[in-house]
Amino acid sequence: MSELKDCPLQFHDFKSVDHLKVCPRYTAVLARSEDDGIGIEELDTLQLELETLLSSASRRLRVLEAETQILTDWQDKKGDRRFLKLGRDHELGAPPKHGKPKKQKLEGKAGHGPGPGPGRPKSKNLQPKIQEYEFTDDPIDVPRIPKNDAPNRFWASVEPYCADITSEEVRTLEELLKPPEDEAEHYKVEILDPTPGKHYSQRWAQEDLLEEQKDWGPGQQLGKSEAQHEQPEDGENIISPMEDSPIPDMSGKESGADGASTSPRNQNKPFSVPHTKSLESRIKEELIAQGLLESEDRPAEDSEDEVLAELRKRQAELKALSAHNRTKKHDLLRLAKEEVSRQELRQRVRMADNEVMDAFRKIMAARQKKRTPTKKEKDQAWKTLKERESILKLLDG
């Protein structure tokens, strides 16, 4: 089954704790009959050992749940794909079952949309209140209004940070967390041309040379052209050491170096690093050819190819970083969900506040009319107060 290769399960190694080694007291207690019983002094060590067993079992449980979830999601995905592509009758049996729960889930999420909507008025309530304050000032003191603008601007600037979390934001987070489908594709590296090109130090040196040429004019061209001829030769010889006979190379290099003018020799200094590396490998090959050194097994071309090795290193870093990001996003999603539930509670507190205020106003009105509030009003006031207390307790707890 080709699908097995893409299976995203991690295939954890589930081993239960070896209680013989790690929990000796527990093992001893097991071996005894019930008549012997457990002594009070053994309680402490027993407790620690039970805690070890318990934390290992609960970790196993969590991992199993995560794996089951991955398996279900993967099967859903496969089921949908199959459903779309093939649409055969006998296959419709299994996939629609996966398809329907998925649709229900989406609808459930959409239902949350209007929920946090009323949460928004909180910030909007602040601003109209401030504006009311402004309006009452208006007839009294016209020139003062521009100065009082600062609070408005402050609240406006702070608002995006304090605003309620909407379900859309939670959904965006969840989408960000969706399984990385095509990551494997991104990590493939195809080597089109294994022969490395010119080393960047050489190329830059050449470019600098050309610039100087432009600056100094055509007078220096003769010397430069010689230097230019030298550079490509140097480049080839230095970077690609995979020649069969090292000796002719070295002699060729020497002749090249002898015939060079002062400027290329000056230019040779930046190349000292690749130069020594290739020199070492050429000496090694020479010795191997002479039979003085045993030829080591050549490792894969990765180690010879610096660029590929670097790429692999960066890929590993990237993988670690994206794994770290995923855990952070998971945490963020969990915190966001908790915050959403707390927001709903706060919303209920606000509504309870309004009810309490209504009851208060009724009682005040009754007092103003110099009559005692009716039992009904008193009961309602107490009821709203108690409701508000209970919601507040939920919020705190």
Partner: protein, 280 residues
Amino acid sequence: MALVSADSCIAELLTELHQLIKQTQEERLQSEHNLVNVQKTHEQMQTENKMRGLYTTAKADAEAECNLLQKARDKIAEIKSLLEERRIVAKIPGLYNDSKPPRKTMRRGVLMTLLQRSAMTLPLWIRKPGDKPPPLCGAIPASGDYVARPGDKVAAPVKAVDGDDQGILAEVVSYSHATNKYEVDDIDEEGKERHTLSQNRVIPLPQWKANPETDVEALFQKEQLVLALYPQTICFYCALIHVPPQRPQDDYSVLSEDTFYADSYPPPLNVAQRYVVAYL
């Protein structure tokens, strides 16, 4: 008479604990069997449905094992609380004619051993899926209206002999709702004067350990300022966290200000999770 019945109660509970432990082991054997099956199927995965079924069984087994272990742990806690109650009741003089009068002061070594044991056997908070650590677990502070019960240990800002410390380890005797004040006793000087402190100055010590493998947010992090009990004393000092615990049984490694080392920083000290609280 009450003492005798408490004893028989404890004996009963111990028998029940033994039974629970035996049941737990049976459950673990069974889940081990299933886990072996899971391993085998990992290697030759024929259909995903079979895999899913096995995972579900393994999940159910793990849940059952967790439940039994949790019950056994709760049983131990019950036994311990009974023992503790007996100790507190025995402290009230004159209640039992045949019991010895309570010791006024304990030897220092005995006290230190007791403190160490109490730190070691602080129950570990096990996270269930969808749960989060409660107040008084590790670094999580108590909720606003929390009232410590008699017998709970707290950090009380009472000046001890040398003036550098920030508080002492004390045990709550009673709480008065009317005045919002606690009466606390020094941990090793029973019989000396009781201190009366207002509620917001007394810091309750954690009642659960946080598991570093699952609940990192319930632990103090490096460089956080805390109040920690200086080892082998009963005084709390300001300290900076050096290394938080890596495994559930580990201690915090803290750096404390210590006037004894005038020139350099004193070496880090190991303090158990039980005796590290936030510095307010």
